[in-house]
């Protein structure tokens, strides 16, 4: 908001943001609405929205500001009447925040989450022709703030929704950590017998060009129609608005900070492609819906797990730090096939000692690769053997982020020995025994 002095002066005159005001100084008179300050720019200016719609900043000192009229209050977003077709399949839409549900108040520039079904159906009327939709909003958080306690809430929410008659679930969330959430749900949901589709947007829905609309429509199609019984991410396939792709939750990763086709399959190909009209093209192997098995959730999670990265000159003392803090698991994002510095010129920079120490103390240590693509290997080079002989678990072609989530989940539900045993065995599609030529840079 405004600097204290300005705030005080405005309050004295009974002026608050949104009010119509008159600003006068040296022969100039400006009328407009007082806008909130976004925290950047000069502390000395007030922002006024002119009748033309433009906002301008005026130095407060030396002006005379008077109130003309009270604020008209926040704008009312348009809503569509809820007409749910009882013949359509029922799905659930769990909204948790993020760009996909952000709406902007044109008057103030403030951002609000869209959580009313009638507003959503106004903006994306196609949804009401795809399915009957039950909307849930367990929390509204940015994805960078999410952690295992929210993953747990989501898993429980999915179980509840599937238990109450939904044939599929769509989760709308922020994209930054979407692939962590996808992995977590992949491990937490047991006997999953329905599509769980996670989606988001890279451009907010207040602009006509937003990717949110197509992502939501395509996700609803997968949830309402597909026979996929997996957790996956459904976002744009390319920069065009032609098609979305459904990616296995444990094999997907955000590979671009801003593009709408940021999510790519790693060491995998998409499970399916889907377009706005509802056409689904299945592409690879996937687990299908079968029988009437009931989905349950195993949501315990050990939070004392770290994900660390080695690099030239990286200091292994970071492991000591985690040991002192009482961590129970460490996933290393090594170089190449799973290296850490072993015999560097400065002896104290070798990771061999600290890793060995950690394992001796019962910490589970897993090795993945920062190349993301490809498989780690503990045999090819002497140094690899030295690391693996310490007892480090080489995690095959599992993504580092997936391995981090998996180890937390394993340590939450099993003892350390069993967790270690299961870390490099496939549970939810996170490890494949063979990698095909066409699974690179897809």
């Amino acid at each position: 908001m405004y600097a204290d002095t300005i705030e005080k002066e405005l309050r004295k005159q009974g002026i608050k943001t949104g009010d119509r005001i008159k600003v006068e100084y040296s022969g100039v008179t400006i009328e407009g609405e007082l806008m909130p300050k976004t925290g950047v720019g000069s502390p000395d200016t007030i922002i006024v929205k002119l009748k033309s719609g433009y906002n301008i900043g005026i130095n407060f000192v030396g002006t005379r500001v008077t109130k003309i009229a009270e604020s008209e209050g926040p704008i009312k977003f348009p809503a569509a009447k809820l007409k749910q077709d009882q013949d359509l399949p029922k799905i659930s839409l769990i909204i948790t925040g993020g760009t996909i549900v952000n709406k902007i108040d044109y008057r103030t520039g403030g951002v609000y989450p869209l959580i009313k079904p009638e507003e959503l159906f106004h903006d994306v009327p196609e949804l009401s022709k795809i399915a009957r939709i039950a909307m849930k909003n367990p929390f509204s958080m940015a994805s960078e703030d999410l952690s295992y306690s929210e993953w747990k809430t989501l898993a429980e929410e999915v179980v509840r929704e599937l238990g109450s008659g939904s044939r599929g679930v769509v989760i709308a969330m922020g994209t930054d950590t979407m692939h962590y959430t996808a992995s977590a749900l992949s491990f937490m949901l047991q006997n999953l017998n329905a599509p769980v589709v996670i989606t988001g947007a890279q451009r907010s829905g207040d602009r006509g060009s937003s990717d949110a609309f197509m992502n939501l429509i395509c996700s609803a199609h997968i949830a309402a129609k597909s026979d996929i019984a997996e957790v996956g991410i459904c976002m744009h396939k390319s920069s065009s608005d032609n098609e979305c792709q459904f990616l296995r939750g444990t094999k997907a990763r955000k590979m671009h900070s801003t593009r709408r086709d940021a999510f790519r399959p790693i060491n995998d190909t998409p499970i399916a492609y889907v377009n706005k009209e509802g056409g689904i093209k299945y592409n690879g192997q996937y687990k299908k819906i079968s029988g009437n098995s009931k989905t349950t959730a195993k949501t315990k999670f050990e939070g004392m797990v770290a994900l660390i990265k080695t690099y030239p000159g990286s200091d292994p003392a970071v492991i000591d730090f985690y040991l002192k803090r009482g961590y129970k698991g460490i996933i290393i994002e090594g170089t190449g096939m799973g290296h850490t510095p072993v015999t560097p010129s400065k002896k104290e920079m070798s990771w061999i000692g600290p890793i060995g120490e950690a394992i001796k103390k019962g910490v589970v240590v897993g090795m993945t690769t920062q190349t993301l693509y490809g498989r780690v290997n503990s045999n090819v080079y002497t140094n690899l053997r030295k690391i693996s002989e310490l007892g480090v678990v080489y995690c095959e072609d599992m993504l580092p982020e997936t391995a981090y989530v998996k180890l937390g989940w394993l340590l939450g539900n099993y003892d350390a020995n069993e967790a270690k045993e299961r870390l490099n065995k496939n549970i939810a599609g996170e490890i494949s025994s063979r990698t095909e030529l066409g699974e690179f840079l897809v």
């Binding site: 704008i75 207040d206 602009r207």
Partner: protein, 614 residues
């Protein structure tokens, strides 16, 4: 054209929005080049996008946005690496605002005696036609409350904006528009006037004067498309019409006058319709009537989803064919609405339907089905079912508006030398604007204002400079207003004969343009070569025109043109030899000059020849 009194009497309202591209190195919100001709092409890609109408400021969908959304068009963006990056195609947030562009805008604000804002907040302004992949244009108000004196009259300038250039449409199809992204994001300054311009002539003069102010700064782009005007026009009883993208400043007055006449004609038609008690009937399916028809415009659509619909216009007889502006009738105006839904056009009963292949039976059956009687007209539209549904709806809405008067519209230029415009979309309601939250606001410092003061273009000082150089008030004034001013300044710098250069640029090139030579295609580099050849006495004044003619046909080095066309100047001893040879053939000074010039008109300088013969 009429005088100001006349325009006052008809309630003429007119305002200008001038847009000028700036010659910065980079675009407004990214580091892509603005000189796209010089930029090297990278990889080519094509994107296909869709946009939808988003509720605006008042929580309702704007009429123009809704109209576009109903058309449901796909937008194809052709992207060339080297000229565009992720920012333009809505795949990366904008970078910081271009400070050089900001400097120029502030300098213009100072030249227009405006009050600058203290903190600039870039806004997002809704764009509905796909010409921006983000569905909005970034625009920032820089200053307000200024003025400029035009022919002794003070014209108030309420605002100046810094904004992004939009995409250029390469092809417009019924359900798809193909855009070229390369110019998108080039900095643009928009300068507005209040709608109090008193006549079309004054509008043109104001546009010229402001254009000149920007041009003499040397900080703006030149060439086709680099400057354009949006003109708002209305008359009493009519409506505000925004004519978009007028590029030829010389004809701004003609466009305005034609728009005035169009509104007057539409009002006359309205009065006539009201007198007749006219109305628009309901739409009816006429498909079965036209089975196996010989009407080419209809038979082309016969097939699985081809349909023919029509509606009655009672009391409209004769008025659909009434001309409202040169070569355009009320029927054309309605047809443009139908076309915007993707159909090829419409047929109406004020036209020679027999000429289109209508059989007497078809006309009879249509009239019967629609209930068309004496004094009534009808409209028929054929096409695919989806297109016709919208086309009929849009055409009926427009036809109904004929009973109200002039529909508020955004109109675009028709490039057929009639100086008329056609319907593009309904005029947007309130501006759909909200802050561009992806970039920081920008605080204007005292230092920036001092810098702007020193950069502010000064028209009077420029005119004095030109006057000193050209020694001719009229020539100096014309040169200053010319779009070739910067070219002239570059050439005149090292020239002993600036007046000759000015005359060639103003007089000679205008003559050649009128004679059909494409002199506007000639680049500055070639003009430099040309005048340098002249200064070095390689060619004569007469040959300059010949070189210009050759250059307007094909871009080529001037040296080559001189060689190929044998335009080398004959001078010094070579000329003396020619004179000696001529003296052997003819007697007397006049006869010798005639003899030499008859054979070497383009190669011999008259003054030099005179000197030899003295």
């Amino acid at each position: 054209m009429h005088d100001e009194e006349y325009y006052k009497s008809i309630g003429f309202m007119c305002g200008l929005e001038l847009h000028q591209r700036l010659a910065t190195a980079h675009k407004l919100f990214c580091d892509c080049p603005t000189n796209i001709i010089a930029a090297k092409d990278g990889s080519r890609n094509s994107l296909s996008r869709q946009q939808r109408a988003i509720a605006g400021e008042l929580g309702t969908i704007d009429v123009s946005a809704g109209f576009e959304a109903e058309r449901g068009r796909t937008f194809i963006y052709n992207v060339v690496g080297g000229k565009s990056c992720l920012v333009e195609i809505d795949e990366e947030p904008p970078h910081e605002i271009n400070k050089e562009a900001m400097r120029t805008a502030l300098a213009f604000a100072k030249a227009l005696k405006m009050k600058t804002v203290d903190e600039i907040q870039p806004m997002r302004k809704g764009v509905v036609d796909g010409s921006d992949p983000s569905a909005f244009q970034r625009s920032a108000m820089i200053a307000f409350d200024g003025h400029i004196d035009v022919n002794g009259n003070r014209v108030e300038i309420p605002s100046i904006f810094l904004e992004e250039e939009s995409c250029r449409a390469e092809a417009i199809h019924s359900h798809e528009v193909v855009y070229n992204v390369e110019m998108l994001g080039v900095p643009l300054v928009e300068i507005d006037t209040w709608p109090y311009i008193r006549s079309p002539k004054e509008a043109k003069e104001i546009a010229l004067q402001i254009g000149t102010m920007m041009r003499i700064s040397g900080r703006v782009q030149r060439g086709i498309g680099s400057v354009r005007q949006d003109v708002n026009v209305s008359i009493k009883g009519g409506s505000r019409i925004e004519m978009k993208g007028l590029q030829e400043i010389d004809y701004v007055d003609m466009y305005i006058d034609n728009e005035v006449k169009r509104q007057q004609e539409l009002l006359k038609i309205r009065d006539e319709l009201l007198k007749r008690g006219a109305s628009v009937g309901a739409a009816a399916d006429l498909t079965s009537i036209f089975r196996g028809t010989k009407v080419k415009l209809i038979s082309g659509h016969e097939g699985k989803d081809g349909v023919v619909y029509g509606f009655k216009l009672s009391g409209f007889a004769g008025l659909l064919g009434r001309e409202v502006s040169p070569k355009r009738r009320l029927g054309t105006e309605i047809s443009d609405y139908a076309k915007s839904a993707g159909v090829g056009g419409l047929l109406h009963s004020d036209e020679d339907l027999k000429g289109y292949g209508f059989s007497g039976k078809e006309t009879d059956e249509v009239e019967k089905k629609l209930g068309v009687g004496r004094g009534d007209s009808f409209i028929v539209i054929a096409g695919s079912a989806g297109n016709v549904a919208n086309a009929i709806k849009f055409a009926m809405e427009r036809a109904k508006y004929a009973l109200i008067g002039v529909p508020p519209e955004t109109r675009g230029v028709i490039g057929d030398n009639t100086y008329t415009t056609r319907f593009l979309r309904p005029l947007p309601g309130g501006s759909r604007m909200y802050p561009e939250t992806d970039v920081k606001t920008f605080v204007i410092t005292k230092q920036m204002l001092a810098d702007a003061d020193s950069l502010a273009p000064d028209i009077d000082a420029e005119e004095r400079r030109l006057m000193a150089q050209l020694k001719d008030r009229n020539l100096a004034r014309r040169m200053m207003l010319s779009t070739r001013l910067q070219t002239y300044k570059g050439l005149a710098e090292s020239s002993a004969e600036p007046a000759f250069i000015a005359n060639v640029l103003l007089q000679k090139m205008t003559e050649l343009r009128r004679a059909g030579f494409d002199v506007d295609a000639i680049g500055d580099e070639r003009l430099e070569e040309l005048f340098s050849a002249y200064e070095k006495k390689k060619i004569t004044k007469q040959a300059v025109e010949e070189v210009l003619k050759a250059l307007s046909k094909r871009d080529q080095k001037v040296g080559e043109i001189i060689g190929q066309n044998k335009l080398q100047r004959i001078t010094g001893s070579a000329l003396k030899r020619l004179v000696e040879d001529a003296k052997k053939k003819v007697q007397g000074r006049e006869q010798v000059i005639k003899e030499v010039m008859s054979k070497h008109r383009l190669n011999v300088d008259g003054a030099e020849l005179n000197g030899i013969l003295k």
